[in-house]
Symmetry: C2
Subunit: 321 residues, 2 copies
């Protein structure tokens, strides 16, 4: 079986948009009617997912980590170009599992436009470039643009990705089997706030996705906007499983710090004037929006407990080096 046959068999059915040219040409074609945003993320076996993670979930995560960037910028997905570096010792028939995961993300706006398939003597290595269209004439919502006085809010829940990885590594002994399963699922197929992109496009003053860790990403937003972000650590929304894990820990501040530094959340963190929050909730009824802090003059991002104590969470975020 050669790569061309494999692509034809498994990926071409995902390339339904006319611009994909059925994956039969060297390029994809996009009739762009206006501004576009572009984002690219790589995922490596053993670094961003585990060797025994089901390949359909790996594909779904790959799409979602890119989708999360588009959503946070207030953009709707147009499609993506995939490069797949396939390990020589992985059965090529597994590409069907991977393709099934991509297909499942079509309901979230994913369309395959093109790409490349090669073999590698190393780990499975994936790269996806996704293209999106900003949903407002303001263009993409950047990290810069927040104003002192803006509230800071986050979608969904924080910490399940980090707890899910700990669960996968067998480090969450005190948690129930059901919670372990829920957290592992959140690690494998992160919840992304599909539906909030319109609200962000219309009302947010600055926005980004939470991938490095809530506090680190708040610090990115603060630096790019030239202000300081103060977060109420106890207001950060946790899942039921996250809350139950928290109850098993001896030091609540230390546990919160782990979740706020964990990363792999793929929720949207944004700043907006207080008067806009209700309008955003009305535009995104299916997405939980929780106000967790506010912007003040100064620099950096800090999280405090209700008693005023600073949370000792690192703000540098995840580094691959």
């Amino acid at each position: 079986v050669n790569e061309f046959d494999l692509i034809a068999a498994h990926l071409a059915p995902l390339a339904e948009s006319p611009g994909a040219l059925g994956l039969k040409d060297d390029v994809a074609f996009l009739q762009a009617r206006g501004d576009l945003v572009l984002t690219a993320d790589a995922m490596v076996e053993g670094v961003h997912f585990l060797p025994d993670d089901p390949l359909d979930t790996v594909a779904r995560k790959l799409v979602r980590v890119n989708l999360s960037d588009l959503i946070a910028k207030g953009a709707a997905p147009v499609g993506g170009l995939l490069t797949l570096s396939w390990p020589r010792d992985r059965p090529t028939s597994d590409i069907a599992d991977f393709a099934r995961g991509l297909a499942a993300e079509r309901e979230n706006g994913f369309a395959l436009l093109g790409g490349d398939t090669v073999s590698t003597p190393g780990p499975l290595t994936l790269s996806l470039t996704m293209i999106g269209q900003p949903l407002s004439k303001r263009g993409p919502i950047l990290r810069s643009g927040a104003k002192a006085g803006d509230l800071v809010a986050v979608t969904g829940v924080i910490g399940d990705g980090a707890l899910g990885l700990m669960a996968r590594l067998g480090r969450l002994a005190a948690v129930s089997r059901e919670d372990i399963a829920a957290l592992e699922h959140a690690y494998r197929i992160p919840d992304v706030p599909i539906g909030v992109e319109h609200a962000v496009a219309m009302h947010a003053s600055a926005s980004l996705d939470v991938s490095d860790g809530l506090l680190a990403d708040a610090a990115h937003l603060a630096r790019c906007s030239g202000l300081r972000i103060e977060i109420d650590a106890d207001a950060v929304p946790l899942s039921p499983a996250g809350k139950r894990w928290m109850a098993t820990t001896s030091d609540r501040s230390d546990a919160l710090a782990q979740l706020l530094a964990g990363g792999d959340d793929y929720q949207t963190l944004f700043a907006a004037p207080a008067a806009r929050i209700d309008a955003m909730r009305a535009l995104a009824p299916g997405v939980a929006i929780t106000v967790i802090g506010h912007c003040v003059p100064g620099e950096g991002a800090v999280a405090r407990r209700a008693d005023g104590a600073l949370l000792a969470a690192p703000t540098a975020g995840w580094s691959h080096f």
Copy 2:
């Protein structure tokens, strides 16, 4: 040193276009004025380049294999998104060498728009998505569109990439040191027909880049256009070093077959009406355009020697599986 510092130090200076947002946001921004073409290619250490190839040449090849797709479609480059999976045991300071290679390709229209940098326990793995703008209102020139009666032509010379790889692997003993150096250079930094994109956009009826091997790519064009391509093997343009290598071989047909099946050429292979060839040469004075065959009713692609003998070159092309 963390990844953010590395990116800032080495890649941000390459992100001069406003849409790159200085690599400081999660996305790139493109003010698209019309249609776009998109292409993505991956390159893996040990598969597409050798572990001891200088990293600046690896970067240049990565850009050029994508550029070659855009040129063959009659499009001008706008920029690219790079994902870099960096081996944990490669000094991160080597990123400077890689960035120097990218910088050298700015003169060929490369601009860095965004991307991602991650670490890998495996080989250096690169993925580049490039965006281009078609240079004619006809849009991108596809593999389909050739007509029976069209001539088939190729830019530059064929075979140096394949000979360069053989040279790198020590399998070209009979060739002079100067020729070895020239061929290795062609393998590391492939010559791409920069300047022919306007001529292709205006006049070619079908076009693609020669990456799988001249005969295999001719077969792709023939299949997509629903016709047969007949190539005059002795008309295929060779470099001086290629010709001298040919003179050292005992079977000229066998040697020609190797070059026509070799791949890694990154020249443009196109079909055009005979009356258009002179106009194309006038539009691309810096690029050699050689007529090597013609389109007839039927299917497949064949190459014949002057005596009518069929060349026994495989038409399936390079397969990674």
